[in-house]
Symmetry: C2
Subunit: 354 residues, 2 copies
């Protein structure tokens, strides 16, 4: 029998089995607090935040709600080789020119701040630490447990799920290829374009190979998706794109517009923005970059394209922005508060069951 009170509701002390994805760049404290106070698990996408911003975000959530919430970080060992750097800058300078920006061949490697980011989560004893791209190393897993934090890790294959359980995670998010944004695949060397298993296929196979609760991610937008995920054996769902378009999301208005106009045919998986495979709406940036050069590895490519994406946003030029989106965007309804989205999901889920 399918029940809406699942293992993750107990484990995380939340009312509804719905997690808001920790989308780096758009999942701020305001969005996380809105989702958490409405009964889901809100998550701050802290991967690109300074330790100070992370601390401020955590405090902001705690000012707004006393409900549990999560903070998401990237766990990745990928190193930034600079081979091909000049060619990449050459292509990016075409985009800069088109945006009225100055050409540049300068570049500073982004500093490694994971240690400092992580220590803020420990000091603040956040209720949930969630990871993408990999797992917490053993010492940090121990620190997290001692701090009383639950640990959630995102996986894209059964083997990654088995490794996650072995490492001690409390909940596994199985991210299907339907998902928007970065593929969570641990080893991009082995899967250059990400391990891209559809949500429908991935979830039951992961469920069969671990004992911790599994949360489905990728293409889930509504109550039908929640019930389908539970039928496949999941104990909940994680939604990114659905909350990206909410009133509380800081996603740029032209980005929200692109989301609401997109279809299931609009997206591709590309490494051109960040050096890691990610699903987004196909635009000029992706088409022209992919035709001209190989991206540098993450996080170098991400840092290199940052000024362009920022300038494009300032100038309302979506053709040069990273428009991360999943494959079910026809199901989006715009202009809703996060709490309303959550309420719709639960109401529809109850309708499917009753």
């Amino acid at each position: 029998m399918i029940k809406l009170k699942t293992a993750i509701c107990n484990e995380l002390n939340i009312q509804f089995p719905v997690i808001q994805a920790g989308m780096a760049g758009t999942a701020t404290a305001a969005l996380a607090a809105a989702v958490s106070s409405a009964g889901g698990l809100g998550t701050v996408g802290a991967a690109y935040m300074s330790p100070e911003t992370i601390r401020n975000s955590i405090r902001e959530i705690r000012d707004r709600t006393d409900k549990p919430f999560g903070v998401n970080l990237f766990c990745t060992k990928e190193q930034g080789s600079m081979a091909g750097f000049e060619k990449v800058q050459h292509v990016l300078n075409r985009f800069r020119k088109d945006l009225g920006m100055k050409e540049t061949f300068d570049f500073e490697k982004p500093p490694q701040i994971f240690e400092e980011q992580f220590q803020v989560l420990i000091e603040e004893k956040v209720p949930v630490i969630s990871t993408a791209f990999g797992l917490l190393p053993p010492d940090k897993m121990e620190q997290a447990k001692k701090a009383g934090s639950k640990v959630i890790s995102m996986v894209t294959t059964v083997n990654e799920a088995i490794a996650a359980e072995k490492a001690g995670v409390d909940i596994i998010v199985a991210q299907g290829s339907d998902a928007g944004g970065h593929r969570g695949t641990f080893d991009i060397g082995a899967h250059p374009n990400g391990a891209n298993v559809g949500t429908f296929s991935l979830v039951p196979q992961v469920v069969d190979h671990v004992t911790v609760p599994v949360v489905a991610a990728g293409g889930i937008m509504d109550g039908r998706g929640l019930i389908a995920a539970l039928a496949l054996g999941a104990a909940g769902v994680q939604l990114g794109t659905a909350f990206l378009i909410s009133k509380e999301s800081v996603a740029h208005p032209v980005y929200k517009k692109a989301l609401s106009e997109s279809t299931e045919e609009s997206t591709v998986i590309t490494k051109s923005f960040s050096g890691r495979p990610a699903r987004g709406i196909k635009n000029t940036f992706i088409q022209e970059f992919e035709a001209a050069a190989e991206p540098l590895p993450f996080p170098v490519q991400n840092a290199l394209t940052n000024d362009i994406r920022k300038a494009a946003a300032e100038k309302n030029r979506p053709e040069y922005m990273s428009l991360w989106a999943g494959q079910a965007t026809r199901l989006l309804r715009s202009d809703e508060h996060a709490a309303q989205i959550l309420e719709n999901i639960m109401e529809e889920a109850n309708q499917v069951l009753s």
Copy 2:
């Protein structure tokens, strides 16, 4: 409320909302009859069959069962350009050599036999005509209706579904990218690698845009998948890989072995075997062909590689066979009759609901 007696049970006069995919090359009369007599809809994969073989297959099913069944054909206008022919034969001759076959540069274009194939279905008044790669043209749709046949067409996008409904199909199969075998995408020019939307995302979006019943396909193996599909709004499921491994399937033993040893990470979408994108287990053929040449269009590439696939099968060499498979093969259980597979699905589906 999720019910196992769905619109397609009434429409097709079948007991369970489960269709066996019309896999060309492996879905014979014996498999179709086994599925149909067990309460699902069996389908003969007739696309590569001569009109005579189709007629014999239909009669064989009718000898074995009085239940409804389907016959699947490819509806495609793609023409076989021969540009690049010599390079392709050069690469294929490496494979032929490795298999102890003679080199060849000869080739006869496969004859166009769709008209003759289709007329057999009309003459035999088959209960269900199903199509992949496109829709029946208006005159044939009219003939099918007059013959009392229901028409099912497979789609991979919402727009294809809308076109299918407009053309008069009775049931739409929404094929997600999780599916094994050929992508059903109509216009390969617009989507060179197929429109690859995950089953989880595709199904509810198609359901929202048509009024005829929608059947989910891609990554569905068990009762969990059936209930999930129904939750997403589907009126049934279509299973290919799950029946490929059944005792009644004529899939080669080394192919069945490869299926049962494969995981969610094993498959890729490739055009190397047939010229149309299709999901199969990555092997030597795919890796070496893709590294060396561009395939010719369907059906020319398919005809060109036919002797190699046959010889590889005779010599138990799976590395040169087309090992079509979906993304959920960890859920396969081998050595079962088709009727047992169907019974397992329905039993598990009832468990999920009860």
